[in-house]
Amino acid sequence: MSVQATTPGALPPGALPADVVESPSAGAGTRRRRDAANGKRPPHPTSRQMRRNAWIFLAVPLALFLVFMLLPMVIAAVISFTDYAIVGDTEWVGLENYTRIFQDSFFWISLRNTAWYTLLYVPLGLVIALGSAILLNRSHRAVRLFRTLFYIPVVSSTVATATIWYWLLNPQKGLLNVALGWIGIDGPAWLYDSQWAMPAIVLMSVWAGFGANMIIFLGGLQGVPGDLYEAARLDGANAWQQFRYVTLPSLSRTTFLVSTLLIIGAFQVFDQAYVLTKGGPGNSTVTMVYYIYNKGFGALEMGYASALSFVLFVIILIFSLANARLSNPRSDAADRRRARRHDRKAVSAR
């Protein structure tokens, strides 16, 4: 979630609109159809004025979008083909930055670390968010209190959270190892141990973020029609079967949204690694964004850092698309397949 919030208006954790994953213009499309049904563009006395006003209202947001979103994308693409370094001459180097990436052992280390983080964080974050949402999806007076308690860590900044965990993870006096000591476990040195530093960061991130995803899952759970459970119970389904055959399929859209958010966030992890470990010990927590930050603003190799950021962008895109394929078949393709099979059976029965 770190880099997503680089600007004040950026996305708060867990707030990627569901529309992003659908066709973006769905809402506007229906309106246009309504217009068409009325006859082409309803003759409105003030429609020309309205059009002009709309552009005036949108002027600043659009100008900012052009200057701080579109233009940067273009600049990033251009300088990724140069050796731009703020100081000194800039030369066009073609694909050199991109070929260099594949021979850069640090890139592979950062990619491996990021993959390791993602592999631990995404499933864990998903299961805990869904589990806590199911726990809170009942009518009980205390539900509101618990919902608030689970959400409180989300409000804190990653830096504050990381600072707290820096203390919690202290090998000798930290709460975590002391608590482990009570049950006879000799806790590791966490942030000082290259094997445990990344799991420690994952643990912290899950703690800090599951509340936001829990809220999204709660919204999804409340949209599951109750008759489905009634029908399942009449068929004799137990709690697990109800979860497996009613809850999970009904939540496929929500699960897709949450897992996409988790993946995008995981690939951009920065704050935690910066505050807690500065990439150490032994480079075990150098993440991709951390490496890009170091290359761009530490070594001032902005051309190379831009190329790195585009590679990260492509990786995020691939994983988001793969996730879309993995999460959605249940709702669309599988439904269609099932329907076709059903039709065939019906035909052969006849």
């Binding site: 609109p17 209202f57 701080f68 994308m73 273009v74 608030t148 002391v178 919204g219 008759d227 709690a239």
Partner: protein, 335 residues
């Protein structure tokens, strides 16, 4: 586990809204006093079967364990921040400090210009909130209530920009701010000076009309009836007047949520201020706090006090408005 009970699914919404109370303590007291929660009241009076009673106990254990895990680190931070240095080392696990002191807080503000950082963060968070609410409302209103050619395209543009990871635009945005013409000693072509770097604008302007703000307000305006505006339009009111006098009063709730979310994002922002604000006087609470972690390697007291101070504003706002924030996030995220 019967958490996925159909009847419960349907009643959750009603019961959660009836329980009032801002924050943990109020909600806890609401539990003791009989609040109007008819469904669960009736359920509670009904004799329970042994199985569902076990289910309830298991549920309580599970949520309590989870709550302790989420809250313990925060409570412990608060308690550590109130302990004198000797007690932090000796009685690290005592929840209640035996000699509570505010020394750690004093040293945070005396040894480091934390007050200055605090003001900087307030300006950045507040500036982000004001600009986002203002421009987000205008843009969202246009997309929701005005018809014009290219509306679908503009909306798609904003939405797709939500998918672009911040890291890709980070370096170019830095360069654009540095080369901003006629600012910070720059000439017309953006040469010679620092541009907008090291100014509040460097943090506020790039996100002043975030795509999220526009999207959020568009969603909100769409829930308001079109007829109000149409009636006013027939009466000859100008579009700005319709926006300001008809829809603005109705949209206050949405704007409040957006303001809180924007403030929170601005206050918690770390990487971007770290990049564009190099002057120590411009440092934010978060950047200041992160430098503590190395500066105060062993003195956890001031570090924890700084953490409490850095979390306080958003925590207070959250506790006051938690219901609206959670519902706002649910609305924007799950839709």
């Amino acid at each position: 586990m019967t958490a996925i009970d159909s009847e419960k699914v349907r009643t959750t919404t009603t019961t959660t809204t009836t329980t009032t109370g801002a924050g943990a303590s109020a909600a806890a007291s609401a539990r003791r006093t009989p609040t109007p929660t008819p469904v669960s009241e009736i359920r509670a009076r009904r004799p329970q079967s042994a199985r569902s009673r076990i289910g309830t106990i298991v549920w309580y254990v599970a949520v309590t364990v989870l709550s302790v895990i989420t809250i313990a680190p925060l409570v412990w931070t608060l308690s550590t921040s109130l302990k004198p240095a000797t007690e932090i080392l000796a009685g690290a696990l005592n929840l209640i400090p035996s000699n509570p002191t505010l020394d750690n807080y004093l040293s945070v503000f005396e040894d480091v210009p934390f007050g200055r950082y605090f003001v900087n963060s307030l300006i950045l968070g507040g500036g982000g909130a004001i600009t986002n609410v203002f421009f987000g409302s205008l843009g969202g209103y246009a997309l929701a209530k005005l018809q014009f050619r290219g509306r679908a395209g503009v909306f798609a543009l904003f939405l797709s920009s939500l998918m672009i990871p911040g890291i890709v635009t980070m370096i170019p945005t830095f360069l654009i701010l540095r080369g901003f013409p006629l600012f910070g000693g720059n000439d017309l072509f953006g040469q010679g000076g620092l541009g907008l770097l090291n100014t509040y604008a460097a943090v506020i302007v790039p996100g002043a009309a975030g795509a999220f703000a526009v999207f959020f307000m568009k969603q909100f305006f769409e829930t308001l009836p079109d007829e109000l505006g149409e009636a006013a339009r027939i009466d000859g009111a100008s579009e700005f007047r319709i926006f300001a006098q008809v829809y603005f009063p109705l949209a206050k709730a949405g704007m409040a949520v957006l303001a809180i979310l924007s403030f929170q994002a601005g206050w918690n922002n770390f990487l971007w201020p770290l990049i564009v604000l190099n002057n120590p006087d411009m440092m934010t609470v978060q950047v200041g706090l992160s430098s503590f972690v190395t500066n105060y390697e062993t003195s956890f007291g001031p570090l924890m006090a700084g953490t409490v101070v850095a979390s306080l504003p958003v925590l207070v706002i959250f506790i006051v408005a938690q219901r609206y924030i959670i519902e706002g996030v649910a609305h924007a995220g799950g839709k």
